[in-house]
Point group: C2
Chain length 212, copies 2
């Protein structure tokens, strides 16, 4: 796909078709005061680009495609699995203090908590800060009693689009999502954590699309 | 600008020009085994789109423009001022505890600190968490002694591009930047805080471009 800068006659043709669709090339030519032969290359470009639809014996229609569709298509083609980071995991019996230390060492905003190898909870910097100023004995209490627990956790999947994941991050006001694979064991859902996608990953992808 | 799906002959022409530039339309026609007249609409589309450059009496050149440039151009057109949020400010004598409370009430990841109305520091959730577990008396010490202080703060401006701001956020590993206006008073630089731009703003903009 390549971008083409439309000339002013082509822009006028789009406006005419929008208003009068369906409209024949004879009618467009008569409105513009030019011959059909003059319009031929313009109509070729407008139909090749998908902006106009031509139906034999009916005329031209406006299809509604424009540059924003192209950008949207490109952005929607990226999946979570293409840009995710490694997850940082602790087990439920890890103390809140040790979880904070892990957060500093790994420099992440969220830590995922597992039980028997499957996702059981999430703690954020905000949760840990709340604990730290709450007067509780953070070097004794396990992270399992303070974390946000399944099923109240929003997850994503490697083959979900980055756009879907970004939408979940914004709607649920979280900094990151665990990237998971669903496993059904004895009829129960278990989520294996295979990655992490955060606003940082999305900001990096934004920079990549910007070409900088 | 509109996207056009190139046909296979147009793609071949691009490859030929890339390899042999500068090359005349006669030479391209002879390589492809077609007449110059056949090529005319193809060359028109390729030069209108900016993919090929035509120089009289020299021939065609490849200019390197493709769909990614279009996306890049669109993304680069947004400025910080278009998407920034309100800044959350405290003064230097605010206690660390009260700063943490403000952070929870306003639900932000960073607080900007001012002195006589101008930016003097920044504190993040991470800084405050460090203080909270460090054993210091957070209800007594002022935020001014624990914050990151000017000039060690990365700032942005309303008329800077979002791409530039995103680059600073990623390179300096921060969650947000103060949006400032520079004032020179008695020959010294002072920064008035007029906004805040975070990875959340950038993630929202990403969603906007995605069309979702």
């Amino acid at each position: 796909m390549v971008p083409i800068q439309l000339n002013s006659r082509q822009t006028k043709i789009i406006d005419i078709v929008k208003e009068h669709e369906p409209i024949t090339s004879e009618q467009i030519a008569s409105i513009l005061g030019v011959t059909r032969a003059t319009l031929r290359p313009d109509l070729a470009i407008l139909t090749m680009s998908g902006i106009l639809d031509a139906r034999p014996k009916v005329g031209y229609f406006y299809s509604g495609v424009d540059e924003n569709n192209l950008i949207s298509k490109k952005i929607n083609s990226k999946n979570v699995g293409d840009i995710m980071s490694l997850p940082i995991l602790v087990t439920e019996d890890t103390t809140v203090y040790d979880t904070i230390v892990t957060m500093f060492l790994e420099n992440v905003g969220s830590i995922f908590v597992t039980n028997k190898g499957y996702l059981s909870g999430v703690v954020s910097r905000k949760d840990l800060l709340k604990n730290a100023i709450g007067g509780s004995e953070i070097s004794k209490i396990p992270v399992g009693i303070t974390m946000t627990r399944m099923p109240n956790i929003v997850v994503t999947y490697p083959n979900e689009s980055v756009v879907e994941a970004a939408r979940k991050i914004i709607d649920h006001e979280v900094d990151s999502l665990p990237v998971t694979e669903l496993e059904i064991i004895d009829g129960k859902e278990h989520y294996k954590v295979v990655g992490r996608i955060s606003k940082t990953n999305i900001t990096r992808l934004f920079l990549e699309f910007s070409g900088s």
